[in-house]
């Protein structure tokens, strides 16, 4: 829609041109050299194309010269392909995988600070056990619970504890590893 005409453009036309997202979440696992600025370069490529990074984790790998970046992002199928190709061009990026949910294990860790007074306390502790969570802080007026698991489990736990008075929640964002013997 270049200025080849002086006709005004309706907001609907402009909205339509912004591009449709399929809403499919992609989990990208990126092996990078452990160098300054790598993360900024990666994030910049997504930002330029209007993708919103939903979660992002970075950590060391078994080889200290490399780091693993796991990020989840909503996107249309074709454009994400364009971003992964651009990611490949970053000099410090070694390998990228767009992970299929069926063949990967995904985990994240979440902390929930919940108001817990009186009878609610024991109920909460039971729930925590059902979810194989742990109590990591315990005061007169609150508890901090730790839960790990796939995104769905964390979200289910959040729904359950919310009515008790969820003071705050923190999530690490998912890490993901391919199943089977082969490296991710």
């Amino acid at each position: 829609m270049e200025a080849g005409t002086n006709a005004p453009l309706s907001l609907e036309e402009l909205d339509a041109a912004v591009g449709l997202r399929t809403g499919r979440t992609h989990v990208l696992s990126i092996l990078v050299e452990n160098r300054p600025g790598v993360l900024t370069r990666i994030a910049g490529l997504f930002a330029r194309r209007g993708f919103n990074i939903e979660t992002l984790t970075v950590g060391p790998t078994a080889d200290e010269s490399f780091s693993r970046v796991t990020l989840t992002v909503d996107g249309a199928v074709d454009p994400i392909d364009q971003v992964t190709k651009q990611l490949h061009k970053l000099v410090n990026v070694i390998k990228i995988r767009d992970l299929e949910p069926d063949t990967t294990v995904q985990r994240e860790l979440a902390l929930f600070k919940v108001a817990a007074e009186g009878a609610a306390r024991s109920e909460l502790l039971e729930l925590c056990e059902v979810f194989r969570g742990r109590v990591v802080d315990f005061t007169k007026r609150s508890v901090v619970l730790e839960v790990t698991g796939a995104k769905r489990k964390i979200e289910a736990f959040e729904q359950i504890v919310r009515p008790y008075g969820l003071i705050e929640m923190m999530r690490t964002g998912e890490i993901a590893m391919s199943r089977g013997r082969a490296e991710t």
Binding site: A3, G4, T5, N6, P36, G37, R48, K89, V91, I94
Partner: protein, 558 residues
């Protein structure tokens, strides 16, 4: 030795003969090292001029260009040339000074986050964090700039680290596990491409700047000759195929020939080589080449299927791929007569729609005539560097480029002000050649300060300003698409280019008469040293033909 002395050793080891730059506080150590390093340094008048000069040098010679600037404003002045080099895949290493490490992030005097500012516009960049890294980083920078799809690499050097005492040992190897450009094309794909070409009835070869970068013009011509294929080039690819060849269709795209654009529209097979299906080529993309299948040869896998889905993608170096494609194609012994009907159609378009313009009835110089005169005055042998606007399109249309690296312009970014400094760089790189600039009265003013650099360094470029007193290309769009409401496009007759040229130490001339233009141009070219010619041309001439924005190629106007 000091890290900066090691820097000089590295530059020499990379074969650097010349750098373009301007000093400042943060790179005083570097300039101290230049003092007796034995590397030619051209002192520019603005860092953007230095950046474009490095680009022009790289484009003309095929070697890596080098531009040097200080921290803060020096580095930010490089933003345009760096972006330009990225868009047109030009190998340039940019060396910026940085404030001393203890000031980083404190808004110290002349501190700018150069790495952060330039991150989206470089192929790669390095912030030096320890003086010992410098030699390795420098060689990596040259390697990355030069190989794969070439591009700009920036090295930011804090001033304290640049003074660090280090033992220097020549670097013999670099290891970049994440950077392994694919060079050899996939053999099966090449065979597929040969088969597709042999079966095609309406094929077109569409070549871009990648052919120039890969030094693959000879291989391209060989393939085209073997199959008697029609060839068109993008603005960036001109010279990749000789314009005098009977198989030449002319440039394609927004201001390409009707023949080239109609051929793309009617083709059943398009073989793209080092071209990226830019919007200036495709016009309305949903109606681009509706009958064609695509072979796409490119060194950058991210270009494949970016804008147009490729049926036969081949990633690798165009020179090698085309050489193998030639062998595969020859082995198939395709019948050339299958293309007879196609050539008849092309011939009909050529006759019906040649490039043409209405010449003036009086002495007025038409811009197209000016380019034809330049061709004649230079025997078609000059390195022609252009700026951005109508004059650029007319030069592309009318000069007729025969060889690669003789046409230098800013295509992807369309940077006004590119021409003069890029020509300066090209002339430094090719001292034996005649280097001519075609500029507009608007564009030339954007880096006109470099005339002084040319005079001081005896860089004898010949600058022809196509003076229409307008920002012509914008005026044309306002005329055609915005009801002739000329908004801020008239430059009037300011400045006086003849006086300005003389003030800068160049020869200044003014030509206004068509009948003597050819001799006048010859005289200008024969004048020693840098020459600036103010050529007065028709004020409101339009660049045609044209694919109007958002229209398909078959609906060209003008």
């Amino acid at each position: 030795m000091r890290a900066v002395d090691a820097l000089m050793e590295c530059l020499k080891a990379e074969g650097v003969e010349v750098v373009f730059g301007l000093p400042g506080g943060a790179n005083l150590p570097t300039y101290d090292a230049f003092y007796d390093a034995g590397i030619r340094h051209v002192l520019v008048r603005h860092e953007a001029g230095g950046g474009h000069a490095a680009e022009g040098y790289a484009k003309a010679t095929g070697k890596v260009g080098v531009a040097v600037a200080t921290s803060g404003p020096g580095a930010t002045n490089l933003v345009t040339p760096i972006t330009d080099a990225l868009m047109d895949s030009v190998p340039v290493v940019f060396l910026t000074g940085q404030v001393r490490t203890e000031l980083l992030g404190t808004d110290g005097f002349q501190e700018a986050d150069t790495i952060g500012i330039t991150m989206p516009i470089v192929k790669h960049s390095y912030m030096i964090q320890h003086p010992l890294e410098l030699p390795r980083v420098l060689h990596e920078a040259f390697h990355i700039a030069r190989t794969g799809r070439p591009g700009p690499v920036l090295v930011d050097l804090p001033t304290d680290l640049s003074r660090g005492e280090i033992p220097y040992e020549p670097v013999t190897e670099t290891s970049l596990p994440g950077y392994q450009p694919t060079i050899e094309g996939n053999h099966k794909q090449i065979r597929q491409a040969a088969k597709a070409l042999a079966a095609a009835r309406r094929p077109v070869i569409y070549a871009g700047g990648g052919v120039i970068n890969a030094n693959a013009a000879a291989e391209l011509t060989a393939v085209a000759d073997a199959g008697h294929f029609p060839v068109t080039c993008t603005l960036m690819g001109l010279g990749g195929f000789p314009a005098s060849s009977p198989q030449w269709l002319g440039m394609l795209g927004m201001h390409g020939t009707r023949t080239a654009n109609y051929a793309m529209d009617g083709a059943d097979l398009i073989c793209a080589v080092g071209a990226r299906f830019d919007d200036r080529i495709t016009g309305k993309i949903s109606e681009f080449a509706p009958h064609a299948k695509f072979i796409h040869i490119d060194i950058d896998p991210a270009e494949i299927s970016k804008n147009v889905p490729a049926h036969i993608p081949i990633v690798g170096d165009a020179k090698r791929i085309l050489a193998r494609l030639l062998d595969e194609y020859r082995a198939l012994e395709a019948d050339p007569s299958r293309l007879d009907a196609w050539w008849a159609q092309i011939q009909q378009w050529r006759e019906e729609f040649p490039l043409r313009y209405a010449d003036s009835a009086d002495n007025e110089i038409k811009p197209q005539f000016m380019i034809e005169a330049l061709h004649e005055a230079t025997g078609g042998e000059a390195i022609v560097v252009s700026d951005v606007g109508q004059h650029q399109m007319w030069t592309a249309q009318y000069y007729g480029f025969e060889k690669p690296r003789r046409w230098i312009n800013s295509g992807g970014l369309g940077t006004m002000g590119f021409g003069l400094p890029a020509a300066m760089g090209a002339q430094v790189g090719c001292p034996e050649d005649l280097v001519c600039v075609i500029s507009g009265d608007g564009s030339i003013q954007m880096n006109i300060q470099e005339l002084a650099t040319c005079a001081q360094n005896e860089i004898p470029v010949k600058v022809f300003i196509m003076n229409n007193g307008y920002l012509g290309m914008v005026r044309q769009w306002q005329e055609l698409f915005w009801d002739r409401r000329y908004s801020q496009v008239e430059t009037g007759q300011f400045p006086d280019f003849v006086k300005l040229a003389e003030a800068c130490g160049c020869t200044g001339l003014r030509f206004e008469d068509k009948t003597t233009l050819l001799e006048d141009m010859r005289r200008a070219i024969a004048t020693p040293g840098p020459v600036v010619v103010d050529v007065r041309v028709t004020r409101e001439e339009n660049t045609y033909p044209m694919i109007a924005p958002g229209s398909p190629a078959r609906e060209m106007v003008g």
